[in-house]
Point group: C2
Chain length 228, copies 2
C-alpha cells in the first residue's frame, strides 16, 4: 500500500429506494430504525459499505439483511453527501433504486431485527435523515425512466395482463391512459408474448402475457428506442 492516503475520510453508506406495485398504486418499502440516530423512525433500508465490497454488493447485502429481499432489479440513483445530512458526522450515501415484483415481496414483518413495511407513495410517514430528498429523486428517475426503458416489467409478476401494466403506467405517470392506444403501441413493439393462460375471477378472464427480454434486447441492438 505504497501511496495510502491518510487524511480524515467521510463515512460511506448505501441507501435503497425500493419500489413495489400492488396493482393499484406505487409503493415504497421502509424499515423502522432499530438504532440511534432516529431510533424508531421510518427510513430507507441501507447501511455502511464494507471495505472490501463493491457498492451494488453493499446495497444488496443491506437490502437482504433489513428486508429479506434478494435478486431484485437494482440501479444506482445518485450520491448524497451534503455535510450535516447525518447527525453522526460526515456520511456520504450512494443511493440505489430497487424494483421488486409482487411475488418477491416479503410479508410485512418477516425480517429478524428490523420492521419493514410497504407504504403507498402518496402516504409516506416522516423519514429519517435526508431520505425524503432521496425518495423524491428516485420517483423522478422512475417517472423519467419508465417512458423509454421497459423497467415496468420489473414491478409486475412474470405473467401479467395488459390492464395490469396499464394500471402501473398510470400509477407512475399519474395520469389516465387510453386503453386502445396503449395496447396498440405496446403490442406493436412485439416483445410481449401472449400466453394461453387467463386470469380467473368475477369477470371476463384476461389474457396473460410475459415480457420477452431477448426480443427486447435484440430490438435495442438494432437501434430501437422504446418510447411510450
Amino acid at each position: 500500500m505504497a501511496y495510502q492516503y491518510e487524511y480524515p475520510r467521510p463515512a460511506l453508506t448505501v441507501d435503497c429506494v425500493v419500489f413495489g406495485f400492488d396493482g393499484d398504486g406505487l409503493q415504497v418499502l421502509l424499515i423502522r430504525r432499530g438504532i440511534e440516530p432516529f431510533l424508531g423512525a421510518w427510513a430507507l433500508p441501507g447501511g455502511f459499505v464494507h471495505m472490501d465490497e463493491d457498492l451494488p454488493e453493499a446495497a444488496r447485502r443491506e437490502l437482504e439483511e433489513e428486508t429479506g429481499l434478494h435478486d431484485v432489479f437494482l440501479e444506482q440513483l445518485a450520491t448524497f453527501g451534503t455535510p450535516g445530512r447525518d447527525p453522526r458526522g460526515r456520511v456520504v450515501s450512494v443511493a440505489y433504486v430497487a424494483l421488486v415484483r409482487p411475488d418477491q415481496h416479503p410479508a410485512t414483518g418477516d425480517t429478524d431485527a428490523s420492521e419493514a413495511a410497504w407504504f403507498p407513495c402518496g402516504e409516506l410517514p416522516g423519514l429519517a435523515f435526508d431520505h425524503p430528498l432521496i425518495l423524491e429523486a428516485a420517483l423522478e428517475r422512475l417517472r423519467g425512466k419508465i417512458r423509454y426503458q421497459p423497467v415496468g416489467f420489473e414491478l409486475l409478476p412474470k405473467r401479467f395482463t395488459l390492464s395490469q401494466i396499464q394500471a402501473l403506467y398510470e400509477a407512475i405517470l399519474g395520469r389516465p391512459i387510453d386503453k386502445r392506444n396503449f395496447r396498440k403501441k405496446l403490442l406493436a413493439f412485439d416483445f410481449l408474448v401472449p400466453l394461453e393462460e387467463f386470469t380467473s375471477g368475477s369477470h371476463r378472464p384476461a389474457r396473460l402475457h410475459r415480457f420477452d427480454r431477448r426480443k427486447y434486447e435484440a430490438l435495442v441492438r438494432r437501434g430501437f428506442l422504446f418510447e411510450l
Copy 2:
C-alpha cells in the same frame, strides 16, 4: 458526536469529465498527473473530498485547482467504487460532468502545477485508473441528455449561429441532421433570440442568436418537453 461510526472507511474523491466543443468535434479536458500513482499519465481532473465540503463544491474546487476553470455547468454523473479501481487502496469516486463554453476554455498549459489539455473525444490517450469507464458513462449521459434538455447551450459561446449548434448536435449524436428541419424545430421552441449581429468571414455572414433561459424555463413550467 454521540454516535460516531468508527470502522475503516473508503477514501472519497470526485472526478470531473469536462466536455468542450471547438466548432468541429466534442473534446475532453484532461490533466497530466503530477503525482503517483500513474505519474505522468493523463487523467480526469479530480481529487479528495474535504471533510467539510459538499460534493459539488469539491468538484468545483478540484476543477479550478487543476484546470483554472470556474463557473461551469456541473452535474453529478455516477459513483464508481469497485474495490481495486485505485492502487492506493479503497477509493470511491463521485464523478461529475462539466460543460464549458469556448470563451471559458483555459489556454492549454495555463495552470500552475499540472498540465491540462483538450483531446478530441475520438482520439483519447490511455487514461489512469478506471477513467476510461467514467468517460464512457459521461458520453452516454451527454448523448441521452442533449436530446431532451438544452444542455447544448452550455457548450456554445453566448452568441452563436444556427450552424454552430447544428454542428454540435451532429458531433454529439454522431450523425448528420437535416438543416431545414433542424432550424424549423429549434426555432419553433421560441427560446432562441435572433440578434442583429452577424459573423464575418470569407463567406456569407450568419446571424447570431442567444439562448433565452427565462423563456425556456417558463415553457418547462407549463409542462413542455424539449425533444430533438
